[in-house]
């Protein structure tokens, strides 16, 4: 209907819009026809040689090890704590959607729909209850979010995401008296990967900021030290940094204090990400015009106050999408902790396959884990794009 009123469309396009589209986008020239045929052949190959053999594989190994893949050897009777964390994330996810989306987002209903659909698969009643709870909290928080003003809601979700790291540690590790303590060596699978990347982002944020400020400082000695630290860490592979954390750190600390493997792995990841975070901060700081500093100076505002009250708020706002995106690279990078023997998402695959029952399951487990990584990283990076648009930041020009 709309097409008929558009004067820029040819008669053919109005008559057969689909046919016109196909001709324009797939068969416009001889070269294009060849390209289309090649791509059809590629798709055919992918389906016949790639996807079909995969579907024929025995996927029971995933079904049997679902719990291991997601939480490692976290105690069964404490599993509800992990679910509480999921619920926490679901609530703030729904609220974030309320703030940042203009139309009613389809995505939130798709996710809850999938979660509901999971209830018809073979899961325990316990799991099903939490699936339903998560789905309803997701939708519920989205609609309940409209009760509060947008300004307040923004503050609430900001606080919620900032508190995610401490909250997850409290709930997963437990604290004296109330929750029995579950030691980090029992954490594993996706839970461990997520916790380590989350923590490393949170800890590398202040360290990276300090390093970036040091690198831009007028004081030569501080500048040189910070530059050297950043460049050394960025110049070597992550795995060397992990080995430093794993093997050298216990040597360098006083003999009375030997950190656990978890802390050592975390230290390595944090060291690594701080250097990269420092570079992101440097980019953000460079985007701030000199006039801001000059204006602050002319108003007789001190250096420290200028930094914390004028410059950093602007930098941080610009950096929200970059921070969200750096979570994906953190998530991907933490996969390396499996090399130093941690049972994260990749490390757990080795231990699953070493079970004689599932010797042939390595391909299935690896593909399933790839799917998990893809879904997480893809949605986070898409989310950061949306954030970038909504916050009105044009990083391309600003940086």
């Amino acid at each position: 209907m709309k097409n008929k009123l558009n004067p820029f469309l040819s008669a053919e396009e109005v008559k057969h819009p689909t046919l016109f589209w196909v001709r324009k986008n797939l068969f416009s020239s001889v070269g294009n026809v060849i390209l289309t045929l090649i791509s059809f052949f590629l798709i055919y190959l992918l389906i016949v040689k790639g996807a079909l053999p995969l579907l024929k594989l025995d996927w029971t190994v995933i079904k049997a090890n679902m719990k291991l893949i997601f939480t490692g050897s976290y105690p069964m009777d404490q599993l509800w704590r992990v679910w509480i964390l999921v619920l926490y994330i679901a609530i703030f996810f729904g609220l974030t959607f309320r703030v940042f989306s203009i139309k009613t987002p389809k995505l939130i209903f798709i996710i809850s729909g999938i979660l509901f659909a999971f209830c018809f698969l073979e899961f325990s009643v316990f799991t099903k209850v939490f699936f339903v709870l998560t789905a309803s909290l997701l939708v519920g928080s989205y609609f309940l979010g409209s009760l509060v003003t947008k300004r307040k809601l923004t503050q609430v979700i900001g606080l919620g995401w900032v508190l995610l790291m401490p909250f997850s540690f409290i709930i997963i590790r437990g604290f004296g008296g109330f929750l029995p303590i579950v030691k980090p060596n029992l954490w594993g699978g996706l839970l461990l990967s997520l916790l380590i990347s989350l923590t490393s982002i949170f800890l590398s944020l202040p360290i990276g900021l300090l390093l970036a400020l040091g690198r831009r400082s007028k004081m030569k000695f501080i500048r040189v030290v910070c530059t050297v630290i950043i460049e050394v860490v960025r110049g070597v592979p992550l795995i060397t940094i992990l080995f430093i954390g794993y093997l050298i750190l216990p040597m360098a600390l006083p003999a009375s204090w030997t950190p656990s493997v978890f802390i050592r792995a975390l230290a390595g990841v944090v060291m690594f990400h701080s250097a990269y975070m420092a570079e992101s901060f440097r980019g953000g700081l460079q985007g701030i015009s000199v006039t801001q500093y000059e204006a602050a100076k002319s108003l007789n505002i001190g250096t420290v106050k200028t930094m914390f009250l004028i410059i950093l708020p602007q930098v941080l706002k610009r950096m929200i999408p970059i921070l969200v995106n750096s979570f994906t690279s953190a998530l991907k990078d933490t996969s390396l902790i499996s090399i130093i023997g941690m049972l994260d998402l990749i490390g757990i695959s080795t231990s699953i396959v070493s079970n004689p029952k599932y010797l042939t399951g390595s391909a299935q487990v690896l593909f399933f884990e790839g799917l998990i990584y893809f879904i997480l990283c893809f949605s986070i990076s898409k989310g950061s794009m949306v954030l970038e648009k909504r916050l009105g930041i044009n990083t391309k020009v600003g940086m």
Binding site: I38, P237, M251, L253, G370, Y373, C377
Partner: protein
């Protein structure tokens, strides 16, 4: 300001004088850093002393008794530690160079697909890029190694092309793919290789002279010369002609042959090498494609329209307007990707490829010389990245001057 600072004495005056204050802060920072370094080193030396060890690199000359799966230089059981680390270094460098070469080509190809007007091919390129960018490299490597190579049949039942069984029962292949890796027919240098090598060197010199001549002519006449294509053709033709003119052939055909347990001869690529290589190429090409795409899209449409309006052909527009401008944007992130490839080869340790990092890891396990090995490998990687960034800066200066 200086006068003011001198006239007043006391802590407050030091704090109010910018120079003195900065000096004071730096001094405190200096003391702090020195303190931390001192504590760390004393702790490290204490823990070394507990293990009856001292920090020394002298053990590097001892025989290592380590067997390496594959190496491009000649090593054996009694080679020194230094030599096997060098073998690992060569492995790292060789795989890096080959992977960079292939991933750049594939990356450019995918970027072109991504920019194509064909809807289907564009979507395929986008899906490829998104999948690759959102999966950890380690997982890609493991999928290649565990889910692909280790699932292949053994050498006896390998996927083969050009399989021939001679009368005395020897099986030879043109190409074979098994869980040990890839084997294919390859041309190898004979003893008479050197004369041809000299001929090729002469050809190279001729080509360079030709390039210089063409550049000179372009400056003199102002006419555009194909200053790269023709010299390249010259070199290739020269190499082919001299190969056939020389009385003794410089290359011979080496065919892989099935032995009792393994395939020997020909070009053999181990499963580990190929897994690491293909994982790196897949991963890096996804990122390189995005770098090229954003570089090409960064050239404003007005530039292209202006070039077309001036009567430049499509190819000329690309060659003379788009590429020179895109180059400036593309090259810095591209180099950091290349450095990333060199760093990422260290992941070979997860699939058992003996790169520099895997070998130092083995040495750490055998000798307990953790600190020395980590210092060594860090310094090697740092030297690599320093050299690269030095050349990068030189190049950047050159490119940016041209732009003005």
């Amino acid at each position: 300001m200086k006068l003011e600072g001198k006239s007043r004495i006391g802590i407050k005056s030091i704090w109010q004088d910018t120079h003195r204050r900065m000096g004071l802060i730096q001094f405190i920072f200096f003391v702090f850093i020195i303190y931390i370094i001192a504590v760390f080193t004393t702790n490290i030396f204490n823990s070394l002393a507990k293990l009856d060890m001292t920090l020394s690199f002298r053990f590097l000359n001892n025989p290592s008794h380590i067997n390496i799966g594959e190496s491009l230089i000649d090593i054996n059981n009694s080679s020194s530690f230094l030599k096997i680390i060098f073998a690992g270094f060569i492995n790292t460098i060789s795989i890096t160079v080959v992977a960079i070469f292939f991933s750049t080509f594939i990356g450019v190809f995918i970027a072109l697909c991504r920019l194509s007007s064909n809807w289907l091919i564009k979507k395929i390129a986008i899906i490829y890029i998104e999948i690759i960018r959102n999966i950890p490299l380690l997982l890609l490597l493991l999928i290649w190694y565990r889910a692909f190579f280790l699932k292949l049949p053994g050498v006896k039942n390998s996927f083969a092309m050009g399989k021939e069984v001679s009368s005395d029962g020897i099986t030879s292949f043109g190409f074979s793919l098994s869980n040990r890796g890839l084997s294919m027919t390859f041309f190898k240098p004979t003893e008479n290789f050197n004369p041809w090598l000299i001929c090729m060197a002469i050809g190279l010199i001729l080509a360079i002279v030709f390039i210089l001549y063409l550049k000179h002519r372009q400056k003199e006449t102002g006419k555009e010369q194909r200053s790269f294509l023709y010299p390249l053709l010259l070199f290739i033709v020269f190499a082919i002609i001299t190969y056939f003119i020389l009385p003794e052939k410089a290359l011979y055909k080496d065919v892989p042959v099935l032995g009792k347990y393994n395939i020997s001869g020909g070009l053999h690529i181990t499963a580990e090498w190929f897994s690491l290589f293909s994982g790196l190429v897949l991963y890096t090409s996804g990122f390189i494609a995005e770098i090229f795409r954003s570089g090409i899209q960064g050239v404003s449409n007005g530039q292209i329209e202006a070039a077309r309006a001036l009567g430049l052909s499509h190819m000329q527009t690309v060659r003379l307007v788009v590429i020179p401008q895109a180059k400036v944007v593309i090259i810095p992130p591209l180099t950091s990707q290349f450095l990333g490839v060199a760093k990422n080869t260290s992941l070979g340790v997860a699939i058992g490829f003996p790169d520099m990092f895997a070998i130092t890891g083995t040495i750490m396990n055998q000798t307990g010389r953790t600190l020395e090995m980590i210092l060594l490998i860090m310094s090697i990687y740092l030297t690599l990245s320093l050299i690269t960034s030095f050349f990068m800066n030189q190049y950047n200066k050159k490119v940016q001057l041209k732009e003005r």
